[in-house]
């Protein structure tokens, strides 16, 4: 490295940035294409092919997609569903992660082993017994059922992340608090939880992304109540009903993608820090 002339080094750096930008453009191309196509006229869509730039901008595609497919209702449902999932996941996994990282109790190791094993088992088909269980609990066709089943799917990963994170926090803090007379609950809610901001963001973001994108679970548990459908399910109805309105399909894709991408872009700096915290220990 040090033997290279400054100019050669600069050239190499230029090439690196060129490659990163070029790769990034290819990486984002499907999104740029969907965005461009969502603004095309129907004719423009068929003649445009892979060219994402519309010859004229048809903003009305958005209002049409929005009203035709009842997107406002799907949007509210998706927000409620994702928010509920994030809250349930964060509460359950942070509490579990804390006690698994910091307390010792009979059965802990058996539980950890069981949790590890469930990671490797195929889950896809278990939808039938889950459906049965939800039906017996009289939760079928409610947003609650979707929130609960979706949250349950994120338990293992979230708990492991919180466990890793809490192990890195200095034990002295808890000991000091205990000496000052803090109870078990105070230590968790007043000290440990406020300290775990990056991990709350990481696990919350994970839960939010998977809930927002979830297709199968909201579909199956709201089958007979179309007014409870979420965006990704709603978009599929939309394709069925308007199989030729491809520009509207593209507009629908953008409406579905944009909010979650924005949330990610805003929160993403926590993401790596959170994961790094879990990896360290």
């Amino acid at each position: 490295m040090s033997t290279l002339s400054p100019r050669l080094r600069q050239g190499r750096r230029g090439l690196l940035y060129l490659a990163l930008f070029g790769g990034g453009l290819i990486w984002l191309y499907p999104f740029l294409w969907a965005l461009g196509s969502s603004l095309k006229s129907t004719d423009g869509f068929f003649s445009g092919g892979l060219n994402p730039i519309p010859s004229e901008f048809h903003w009305s595609n958005y209002s049409e997609a929005w009203t035709q497919a009842d997107f406002s209702r799907f949007f509210v449902n998706t927000v409620l569903f994702a928010t509920g999932t994030v809250i349930v996941t964060l509460l359950a996994t942070s509490m579990a992660g804390y006690v698994l990282a910091r307390t010792d109790f009979p059965g802990k190791k058996i539980w950890l082993g069981l949790v590890g094993v469930t990671l490797f088992l195929p889950h896809g088909y278990t939808i039938i017994p889950v459906f049965d269980l939800i039906q017996r609990l009289h939760l079928l066709n409610t947003l609650w059922s979707v929130v609960i089943v979706q949250s349950a799917g994120g338990m293992v990963f979230g708990t492991f992340l919180f466990m890793g994170y809490f192990t890195t926090i200095d034990r002295g803090l808890e000991d000091a608090a205990r000496v000052d007379g803090a109870s078990f609950h105070q230590i968790f809610w007043r000290i440990m939880l406020p300290l775990s901001g990056p991990m709350l963001a990481t696990v919350g973001l994970f839960a939010c992304i998977t809930a927002w994108n979830s297709f199968f679970i909201p579909l199956v548990f709201t089958l007979s109540r179309p007014e409870l459908h979420t965006l990704s399910v709603g978009m599929f109805n939309f394709i069925g009903q308007n199989s030729t309105a491809w520009t509207l399909v593209c507009a629908g894709s953008v409406i579905t993608l944009l909010p979650i991408v924005l949330i990610f872009v805003v929160l993403q700096r926590f993401f790596i820090n959170g994961l790094a915290g879990a990896v360290k220990q």
Partner: protein, 326 residues
């Protein structure tokens, strides 16, 4: 990560430290631990663990999923699955998917992580976001958009390749049994690379910078410090990344379902779409009538296969780790 720590030590019930208070007393002393664990435990047991066992019960019945299972058939479902060429084809496709996707993706992700981890790199955050964005997007939307892009409208990818003479004639990428699986693997690499990029970045950040400085003082070049410092220091995180990548690939479902539904002629049928088609119908030629019993038997057999494979994988990776350490 803690996942590995758990798997390395088999669960033991006997306390390792000598005299301890009685079991009952220890359980009572830990009552708040159990209370805090309870929400997670209940959700996991009810919606993940119980259904696995409940499905095992279904494997002995011929059942369309409606009402109570009635028609007891013993082990016939297992027999039928073991003799089904489509099942073994699906297992093969899933393994091809995993064994092509995981190595390619991990090499790409590690290379990208090394570049993006350079503190002197400008716009690192921007690039990190760009390469992660496909992860954030749903397979359903990705499937629709990619299908539209690959369709032969106007100047599509197919006609461009045909014009430049790379291929003769238009290729129906997802409709041709020879190309469909390859296209799905490519899209799979694109769609989930971001996860491994972030894991590797997290791993790289745990390596103290002083190690590299010391190596540089000793006259180590970048290639040498990559093999002497980066790789050994990433070993532990790397094992977790490899295991997670394989688990994810073996469970592939959404992408295949929205892109091809397992077709054409079962050329992209993976185990999870096969199970789905058995349980809910919907694939021409597979099961005309949904059969939850058959589907459960298939997923039970696949589960066994995965457990054996995972155990081998962990053993192999630990073996490598030990040899390196010695």
């Amino acid at each position: 990560m803690s996942l590995l720590a758990t798997r390395q030590r088999p669960p033991r019930t006997a306390p390792t430290v000598a005299p301890r208070p009685g079991l009952w007393r220890r359980i009572r002393a830990a009552k708040w631990s159990y209370a805090y664990l309870a929400p997670m435990a209940v959700l996991l047991l009810a919606f993940v663990v119980y259904p696995i066992f409940a499905s095992f019960g279904y494997t002995f019945y011929r059942w369309n999923g409606i009402g109570e299972p009635g028609d007891y058939v013993g082990l016939a479902n297992f027999q039928q699955i073991l003799h089904d060429r489509i099942f073994w084809g699906a297992v093969g496709h899933t393994f091809v998917y995993a064994f092509v996707l995981v190595p390619v993706q991990l090499v790409l992700a590690l290379a990208l992580a090394l570049v993006l981890n350079n503190p002197k790199l400008k716009f690192a955050l921007f690039f990190r976001t760009v390469y992660f964005i496909p992860v954030v997007t749903s397979a359903a939307v990705v499937g629709v958009v990619i299908q539209l892009m690959l369709a032969n409208f106007g100047d599509s990818a197919g006609s461009l390749l045909a014009k430049t003479g790379v291929t003769d004639g238009q290729i129906d990428w997802l409709g041709d049994p020879h190309t469909a699986l390859a296209v799905i693997i490519l899209i799979g690499i694109w769609h989930t690379l971001g996860y491994n990029l972030v894991y590797f970045l997290a791993g790289l950040q745990t390596i103290p910078a002083e190690l590299y400085e010391a190596a540089k003082l000793d006259g180590c070049g970048p290639v040498q410090s990559f093999f002497r410092i980066t790789i050994p220091m990433l070993r532990q995180v790397g094992v977790v990344i490899v295991v997670l990548a394989f688990i994810g690939s073996f469970q592939v479902f959404d992408l295949v379902q929205v892109l091809t539904g397992g077709g054409p002629y079962f050329a992209t049928e993976v185990v999870n779409t096969y199970i789905y088609h058995l349980a809910f119908g919907g694939s021409p030629g597979s099961a005309a009538q949904p059969d939850v019993g058959l589907a459960s038997a298939a997923s039970f057999l696949y589960g066994l296969l995965l457990i054996v494979f995972s155990a081998l994988q962990v053993l192999a990776l630990r073996g490598i780790g030990r040899r390196r350490a010695a």
